[in-house]
C-alpha cells in the first residue's frame, strides 16, 4: 500500500553534494518535498524552519557529529514523532548502538537498492502515522477527561457549605479523584460532613461520587438523621458498585444546638479531635464498620462516637493517601508526622499549609500514587449559628405584629406511630415534606423542624421510653443513655405517639399548632418549665437544651395530662 506523499517533507543532512543530489532525485520521484543541509548545524536550522516529517542524516556529515545532530533533532520534536534514518557505508556495533541511543529509528547501509531505500521511508511514515494517531487519541481523551472532571467536581462539590469554617484540601493522583468531600446544612442548623474514599483512583473510582453526593445532600436537606443517610448511601453503593469496589467514609454530624459531634467511621483511617489551643490530641475515632457498599445492610449495632465539643476543638479527617505517601526510600509519611504537622499548623493557624508542606518535603519530587484529602472542621458552633436564620428576631417580629390578621386558609394533618414503628420510622422528615408540599419550601421551616424534632424526641425518650434525662449530664452518661434507649426501643409493646398539626395561614404568614400525645406516664412538668424561664443552663448540662430552644422558637408552649401531652404554637411572618 502506498501512502499519499503530497504533504510529506523530508530533510537530508549530508556534506557530500553528489549524495544529496541522488537522494533528492529519488525522493522527488516519489512525490515528497525535499530540503537539504550540508552540515549538522545547518540541518538543525532547517529542521526548525521546515518542520520536516522525516530526517536522513549521513553518519559522516560535517560540523556537528551525526549522533549529536540526531539527539538534538529528537529533542526539538517533542509532541510529534519525526523518524530519523541514519545512512552510512559501515558502522561497528558500538556506533550502531550509539545511533539508536541518540534516537535514530533505523540505519541504511550504502550501497542500497532503490527498493530498499523506498520501503524504509514508507515503513517509517507508517510508524509516524501510528504515533500521530496515538497522540491525537491521547490528547482528545485527556481533553475529554479534563472537561468531564470539571463538570463532575462542579456537580459533586458545588453544594458544599460553610467553606470558611470547614477547610477542604484535595489533590488527585489522576484527573479524576476517588476521594469525595461533602458538607451540607440540616434543616435544624446542624452540619453534616462526609469524607469518602472509593477503592482505587481515576475515572473508575469516581463513578459512585455523583449518586453519593445526591443522596447525602437530598437526605440532609430533608432532615433525615445521619444514620438513615448512611444506610441509604450503603444501599445505593451496594446496588451500584461492582463486588470488588466499595466506599470507605467518615461522616461527622455537628450538632450546633447540643455542641456535640457524632462521628461514624466506616473503613477510614482514625479521625482526630484536637484541642487547637494546646495542640493536644483529645480523641481518635477508629474505624468501627466495614466500608459501605459491601453488604446490602449495615451491621446491627452501629452507633456513632459521641464527642462533646468546646469552641477550640478541631476535627481532622484525611484519606490514607496522606499517611501512606512514600519517599524515595520507600518509607511511609505516617501518622506521627501527620499529627506533628497538624499541631504545628495550629500554632501558625494554617493546618492545611503545614501538612501539605511537610508531605511535599517528605516525598520530594516523587509522583503521587493515591488521592489525597484533608478536611479540617472548626468546632466552634457559634460560627455555624450565623449560617442559620436567628430564632430571636423571628420571635420579635411576631410580638410586634398586629394580631387581627384575616384567615386565608386552614388545614389539619395527623399521624400516629405505634409499637415497633416507633423504632423504625422518623416522622419528622415526613411532616416537613407534607408541609413543603402544601405550603411550599421556605426558611421558616428550619425553626419548625427543630421544634418538631425536640418535641418528638422528648415524647419518645422521656414519655414512651421513660428515660432519665439527668443521665445526659455527663459525657459518660451519654453513652449509657443511648444504650438504654436502644434496649427499650427493642421492646416497645403498646407504646404510641400521636401527632396532630393545625395550620392557619394569615396575611402576615401563618400559625401552626402542634399537638403531641404519648403513651408515657408523664413527668413533673410545671417546676421544670418554670425553671427554664430564668436559669441560664450550665455549660456542661447536656439535657434540657432542647426544650429551651423550643420555648425560644415557639410563641406558646404548654404541657397537659401530667406532661404526656404537649401543645406548641409556631408562628411566622412572611
Amino acid at each position: 500500500m502506498m501512502m499519499q506523499s503530497q504533504n510529506r517533507d523530508i530533510l537530508i543532512i549530508d556534506s557530500n553534494q553528489d549524495n544529496v543530489e541522488r537522494l533528492t532525485q529519488i525522493i522527488s520521484e516519489e512525490g515528497f518535498a525535499v530540503s537539504s543541509a550540508q552540515n549538522g548545524m545547518q540541518g538543525l536550522v532547517k529542521f526548525y524552519q521546515h518542520k520536516p516529517d522525516l530526517v536522513l542524516i549521513d553518519f559522516h556529515a560535517e560540523g556537528m557529529s551525526a549522533i549529536e545532530t540526531c539527539r538534538q533533532i529528537k529533542a526539538l520534536a517533542t509532541n510529534v514523532f519525526v523518524p530519523v534514518l541514519m545512512i552510512s557505508t559501515y558502522l561497528d556495533d558500538e556506533q550502531i548502538s550509539t545511533c539508536v541511543e541518540a534516537g535514530a529509528d533505523d540505519i541504511v547501509f550504502r550501497p542500497f537498492s532503490l527498493a530498499i531505500f523506498r520501503s524504509k521511508i514508507y515503513a517509517m511514515f507508517r510508524i509516524a502515522n501510528l504515533y500521530s494517531k496515538l497522540y491525537t487519541l491521547t490528547s482528545e481523551r485527556q481533553n475529554d477527561e479534563e472537561l468531564a472532571e470539571q463538570l463532575f467536581s462542579t456537580v459533586v462539590e458545588k453544594g458544599n457549605v460553610a467553606k470558611e469554617h470547614i477547610s477542604i484540601f484535595k489533590r488527585s493522583a489522576e484527573t479524576f479523584s476517588g476521594d469525595v468531600q461533602l458538607t451540607a446544612l440540616c434543616p435544624n442548623g446542624d452540619i453534616n460532613v462526609l469524607l469518602g474514599d472509593f477503592t482505587g483512583h481515576g475515572l473508575s473510582s469516581a463513578i459512585g461520587a455523583i449518586p453519593l453526593a445526591d443522596t447525602f445532600r437530598a437526605m440532609t436537606d430533608k432532615g433525615y438523621s445521619p444514620l438513615e443517610i448512611i444506610k441509604q448511601i450503603n444501599r445505593k453503593m451496594h446496588q451500584l458498585l461492582p463486588t470488588h469496589m466499595f466506599l470507605a467514609m467518615t461522616m461527622v454530624s455537628l450538632s450546633v444546638n447540643e455542641q456535640i459531634a457524632y462521628i461514624w467511621n466506616a473503613g477510614m483511617e482514625d479521625s482526630f479531635v484536637f484541642d487547637s489551643k494546646t495542640g493536644e490530641l483529645r480523641q481518635r475515632i477508629g474505624s468501627f464498620h466495614p466500608p459501605l457498599g459491601i453488604s446490602a445492610n449495615l451491621l446491627l449495632d452501629i452507633r456513632p462516637e459521641v464527642i462533646p465539643l468546646t469552641k477550640d476543638d478541631r476535627i481532622i479527617l484525611y484519606s490514607d493517601g496522606i499517611v501512606e505517601a512514600r519517599n524515595a526510600q520507600g518509607d511511609f509519611f505516617g501518622e506521627q508526622r501527620f499529627i506533628e504537622a497538624t499541631q504545628q499548623g495550629f500554632v501558625d493557624n494554617d493546618v492545611k499549609g503545614h501538612i501539605i508542606a511537610a508531605l511535599e518535603v517528605f516525598c520530594e519530587d516523587l509522583p503521587q500514587d493515591d488521592d489525597i484529602s484533608l478536611v479540617d472542621i472548626n468546632c466552634d458552633v457559634s460560627l455555624y449559628q450565623a449560617l442559620f436564620p436567628v430564632a430571636e428576631s423571628e420571635k420579635e417580629k411576631i410580638l410586634n405584629s398586629t394580631i387581627e390578621d384575616e384567615f386565608t386558609g386552614r388545614w389539619s394533618w395527623q399521624m400516629a406511630l405505634m409499637g415497633e414503628k416507633l423504632a423504625t420510622v422518623n416522622p419528622i422528615p415526613i411532616i416537613i415534606n407534607q408541609i413543603n408540599e402544601m405550603e411550599g419550601p421556605g426558611d421558616q421551616w428550619h425553626g419548625l423542624y427543630t421544634v418538631l424534632t425536640e418535641l418528638y424526641v422528648n415524647a419518645l425518650d422521656h414519655g414512651v421510653l421513660d428515660l432519665d434525662s439527668s443521665l445526659k449530664n455527663s459525657p459518660e452518661g451519654f453513652a449509657q443513655y443511648f444504650q438504654k434507649k436502644e434496649e427499650r426501643l427493642a421492646v416497645l409493646g403498646n407504646g404510641y405517639i400521636k401527632i396532630k398539626l393545625e395550620y392557619t395561614s394569615t396575611d402576615q404568614g401563618g400559625t401552626l399548632d402542634i399537638m403531641m400525645i404519648d403513651s408515657g406516664i408523664g413527668f413533673e412538668f410545671t417546676p421544670w418549665v418554670e425553671e427554664l424561664g430564668d436559669i441560664e443552663l450550665a455549660k456542661n448540662d447536656f439535657s434540657g437544651r432542647g426544650i429551651k430552644l423550643v420555648t425560644e422558637l415557639c410563641q406558646k408552649l404548654s404541657y397537659h395530662e401530667n406532661g404526656s401531652a404537649v401543645k406548641a404554637t409556631y408562628t411566622w411572618n412572611k
Binding site: 474514599d197 463486588t243 470488588h244 466499595f246 470507605a248 474505624s287 466495614p290
Partner: protein, 102 residues
C-alpha cells in the same frame, strides 16, 4: 511465584499463599487460584504470612473471593497477616465479613 495455590486430595480445602505485595498486579493470578474450585463447602485458606503489603484493591479481591465462596457455600479463613496487613484489615473491619486468624 507471588501466588501459589494447592488443593487437598478431597478437593474440599484450598490453600492460597500470597507472597510479597498483595495488590492489583496480582489480580489475574489470585483469581485463577480459586475460580476453578467449585466443590460445595470448600474452605479457602489464605496464607498471608509471607506477604508484606496489601492495598485497598486487594481488599476488593478478597471480596471477590468471598463472593465466590458464598456462591458454593464455602468459607474463607485469612491466616497470619503481618502487622501492617492486619492494620489494613482492621481499618476495613473485615473480621465482620470473614474469619481472620493471626
Amino acid at each position: 511465584m507471588p501466588i501459589v495455590s494447592s488443593t487437598s486430595s478431597n478437593s474440599k480445602d484450598v490453600l492460597i499463599t500470597v507472597s510479597d505485595r498483595f495488590d492489583f498486579s496480582q489480580y489475574k493470578l489470585f483469581r485463577e487460584s480459586y475460580c476453578e474450585c467449585n466443590t460445595p463447602g470448600t474452605e479457602f485458606r489464605l496464607d498471608l504470612s509471607s506477604a508484606n503489603y496489601m492495598d485497598s484493591s486487594a481488599l476488593g479481591m478478597l471480596l471477590l473471593l468471598k463472593e465466590h465462596a458464598d456462591k458454593i457455600k464455602g468459607k474463607i479463613i485469612i491466616e497470619r497477616p503481618n502487622d501492617s496487613i492486619n492494620k489494613v484489615l482492621e481499618i476495613a473491619q473485615f473480621h465482620h465479613l470473614m474469619e481472620i486468624v493471626r
